[in-house]
């Protein structure tokens, strides 16, 4: 299970990084979204993988699921969402000012 998740996260991060390095702001926004997915799953994993640990303190339970990463990831999701929305707004304004979607200042779309 660990190796599947690790490879999946690596692939997701690689795709995100590739898209961020593309010259148009649309793919940059897409890449940052992929990266933030990666990060969110990674925060979850900070609480360890496991399907059997109960979320509540039951009397006969072996251990507990760690509730803190869920709180952390919720905060991270909200912040990431707001930031992406702002990025799209700035990208639109930059397109309005310069007439092109490119982030590197080059011409063409």
């Amino acid at each position: 299970m660990e190796i599947v998740i690790a490879l999946g996260l690596g692939l997701l991060a690689a795709c995100g990084l590739y898209l961020v390095l593309r010259p148009t702001s649309f793919s940059v926004a897409l890449g940052l979204t992929l990266l933030s997915y990666t990060v969110n799953v990674l925060i979850f994993l900070g609480g360890r993988l496991g399907a059997t640990a109960p979320p509540l303190a039951l009397p006969d339970a072996e251990g507990l699921a760690d509730p803190l990463p869920q709180a952390l990831v919720l905060t991270a999701i909200v912040i990431g969402f707001g930031m992406t929305a702002y990025l799209v707004a700035v990208a639109l304004r930059a397109k309005g000012e310069s007439g092109s979607d490119r982030v590197d200042g080059g011409g063409g779309a």
Binding site: V39, L42, R48, L72, I79, L87
Partner: protein, 514 residues
């Protein structure tokens, strides 16, 4: 439990909310409220400085949850100094913004207050995740402030800045996830204590986590390979925003200093994480800043590159990480923040008076009131280049003295001295273009237009005088200031006192992580 540690965060936050609620009441309302909030914050910051000067570490538990489980704010000398510097800078910033820049687009003062709230919060928090949240608050406000204004196309510069900082935030979260996964805590004091007992299997992960964390802070501080975004961004910002951004690089340096002094260098898992390369990169940053200053065609760009130089100088202090170097870097931080902000301000005053030439370093029309502007410029140039008798000399001397025992002292000394020489050279060259070789053939109409422009810059005199007086006051106040920063550095060295204050003496049983 006194509520003092949270007040610097609450005041600008409430001011921002009231400003939003009162939107539509006109610019006078916004300016008055914003100024009152900032002056009040400054008084609070002074109170914080005095309160923290007894050497006790004051802990504010949000919701009264005990430390590693709840979020704490920590008021110690370091936090008080950083809050005070920011609050002192905010006053001239709001005075500049009142001169019409704040009407160019909506909600300027709201974002200004939010940015200040984020800054104060970042300085006061004792929790790494909370630090991330405050970073996001101040970054989001800074994105909006950077895009503010109609007079220049800023969206491109903003876009690069936003993308870079979003990547930084993603890395920050990766680092936090790894730290929580391995150490089981995000409290700074607790994580510092737990670093000593990291299992050998976890050591590489912990090392990676703290390396990522350092990279994020160094991106904010604009260390060499991560700093190329800075000059263009700062030069593109409107004047009050550029002045306020001077303190933004210092947040990265503060955060790095806080993490390093929480016990990073002593623990086996993270020993030698920063030491081998940080001072060389800091020297490189100083070099890049000096080259950037030589290449700059505008005074604003010179000031922006000066931010790089001061970042490098401060990071030399962080790299040495002993009591004298931390004391020296804090003294230098106070000086450089004030002086660089003042340089941005005087660059704008000169630019306004030169019409289409702006602040390009070329011969141009007569500035008018040359004695006043020239004197202010001379004082700032002397302070910025670190020549005696002004504060720059004293601060730089402290930094250089503190570096004598470090392995690469000769390289650091050389970088600092060359950077000082280059600063003096560039500012002198600019001065000769602005003040000594003016009088390009100007028609009478140009003179009339110029007179009205000169009037427009006159209200900027008050914030400039405030900054200059602060910079000058740092000379007679050098003894108390350096005593305070020395005590601050000594307090940072006493890790156990900090940990005991934050965590309490009671050891709480925690479930062993699988």
């Amino acid at each position: 439990m006194s509520h003092l540690p949270i007040l610097p965060f609450i005041v600008p936050l409430v001011a921002a909310i009231v400003l939003l609620l009162g939107h539509g009441r006109g610019i006078v309302f916004e300016r008055t409220l914003s100024t009152i909030a900032i002056v009040f914050s400054m008084l609070l910051a002074a109170l914080l400085l005095v309160t923290a000067s007894d050497g006790a570490v004051r802990v504010y538990r949000l919701g009264d949850w005990p430390a590693p489980f709840g979020i704490v704010l920590v008021l110690d000398r370091l936090a008080a100094v950083m809050v005070a510097v920011t609050a002192a800078l905010a006053v001239p910033v709001v005075l500049v913004a009142r001169q019409g820049i704040d009407t160019q687009s909506r909600h300027f003062h709201v974002f200004l207050q939010l940015q200040l709230a984020g800054l104060y919060g970042a300085f006061l928090t004792g929790d790494l995740f909370n630090l991330f949240v405050f970073f996001e608050i101040l970054l989001l406000a800074s994105y909006a402030l950077l895009a503010h204004g109609r007079d220049a196309p800023r969206a491109k510069a903003t876009l690069g800045y936003v993308v870079l900082n979003l990547l930084g935030s993603a890395l920050f979260l990766v680092a936090l996830a790894l730290i929580y996964g391995t150490l089981g805590t995000l409290n700074m004091a607790d994580s510092g204590a737990r670093l000593d007992t990291v299992a050998a299997a976890d050591a590489p992960l912990v090392r990676t986590a703290f390396a990522l964390l350092a990279a994020v802070f160094l991106l904010k501080a604009a260390l060499l390979p991560l700093g190329f975004w800075l000059p263009q961004t700062y030069a593109a910002a409107s004047l009050p925003v550029a002045m306020l951004f001077v303190v933004m690089t210092k947040v990265g340096i503060y955060a790095l200093l806080r993490v390093v002094t929480s016990g990073l260098s002593e623990a086996a898992a993270t020993a030698d994480l920063l030491e081998p390369w940080l001072s060389w990169l800091a020297i490189g940053t100083i070099g890049i800043g000096a080259i950037g200053m030589l290449a700059a065609r505008r005074l604003t760009l010179v000031a922006a590159n000066l931010v790089l130089v001061s970042s490098g100088t401060l990071l030399l202090g962080v790299a040495a990480a002993n009591v004298t170097s931390i004391a020296a870097l804090l003294t230098y931080l106070v000086h450089t923040t004030i002086v660089t902000a003042a340089l941005f301000l005087i660059a704008d005053i000169i630019a306004e008076r030169r019409g289409a030439l702006r602040d390009t370093i070329e011969k141009g029309p007569h500035l008018g009131e040359i004695k006043i502007i020239g004197t202010a410029y001379l004082l700032l140039a002397v302070a910025a280049s670190g020549a005696p008798p002004l504060s720059g000399f004293l601060a730089k001397l402290m930094v250089m003295q503190s570096l004598t025992a470090t392995p690469h002292a000769w390289a650091s000394w050389m970088a600092l001295l060359v950077a000082g020489l280059v600063t003096a050279l560039v500012l002198a060259r600019a001065a000769s273009a602005y003040f000594w070789e003016p009088h390009r053939a100007d028609g009478a109409t140009a003179m009339a237009a110029h007179a009205s422009r000169a009037d427009a810059t006159r209200p900027l005199a008050l914030p400039l005088v405030l900054l200059l007086l602060t910079a000058l006051a740092l000379v007679p106040l050098a003894a108390p200031l350096s005593a305070y920063t020395r005590a601050t550095a000594a307090q940072l060295e006493q890790r156990q006192t900090y940990r005991d204050a934050v965590l309490g003496n009671a050891t709480i049983e925690r479930e062993r992580r699988p």
